[in-house]
Amino acid sequence: MDLFKSIGRQNSSNSKEVAKERLKLVLVHDRVNVSSSFLEMIKGDIIKVISDYMEIDENNLEVKMTKTKRDEDDSLVPALVANIPIKRMKGAAR
């Protein structure tokens, strides 16, 4: 009966979980690229919010999608990174 058991069950490598994880990560990047205006929209909104408090260098403002390691288990997760050069603080912030 063991023979039938091994035929019936076969080895369960569960490679679909690997596929799912890889797929999820790659899609985060793909989806951003689908709408090229997406990052521009975020940029615009960031500038709008921050401008009330500080004067920023809009030409050198950088917003991009990247990967980062999660603290708990070192697995890769997508991250949005914004690099915003500040020229000077505005009155309200002082």
Binding site: S13, K20, L23, K24, L27, D30
Partner: protein, 264 residues
Amino acid sequence: MGEVIVITSGKGGVGKTTTTANIGTSLAVNGKKVVLVDADIGLRNLDVVMGLENRIVYDVVDVVEGVCRLKQALIKDKRYPDLYLLPAAQTRDKSAVSPAQMQELCERLKEEFDFVLIDCPAGIEQGFRNAIAGAQKAIVVTTPEISAVRDADRIIGLLEASELRNPKLIINRVRVDMVKKGDMMNTEDMIDILAVDLLGVVPDDESIVVSTNKGEPAVSDNKSLAGRAFNNIALRILGHDVPFLDLEVEEGFIAKLIKLISKR
């Protein structure tokens, strides 16, 4: 006024043409007036899958360029009550037709037919743009492979950007044995990732190869499990509430036997 549905996928070889042929045939069998439009100019295949390759005189480019009238280019499939094919040109390329021309063509077909099914070429370039130009609804075909799902996701994004919202998903070539082993993504996995509505699940089935060899859509073969899945999809398009096939029950005799014995 009929409905124009584009069948698309992004990736090639996932079964767009087979899906178009089978859904179209089933809709016709169910009493609808149907035209299948092959939008894959330069690489036409819907004609051979339908077994109508010997009857082509004019094609879609001839219609658009005014070489013939629309009626002259439509090939009637004599096996079914109201099924027609508008073949693609084989010796031209995608640029022979513009999205505006396709849109106009669909408008005209819509007046004559209940369903206009457009078989979209692979890719996201002009052939895709042409195929979706006149469509009101979209069906995305994918297989449970990482590459096909990725492309399906991209296509869904592009469809929504073109105002073709809420596309429906068909998962083709599902292998129940591999899903069970955890070596193939299942329906839930894929719906979860793509976040779209499911229209149907079609098992990987040798009968599709046989029916394509013969040029007879699998829906006409009662014994074909894939054919039955396509039939159910057509019924869902017609608004019927058809439960999804329980693929696990439909597995073959040997698999059942092994299962039975190994349980003891």
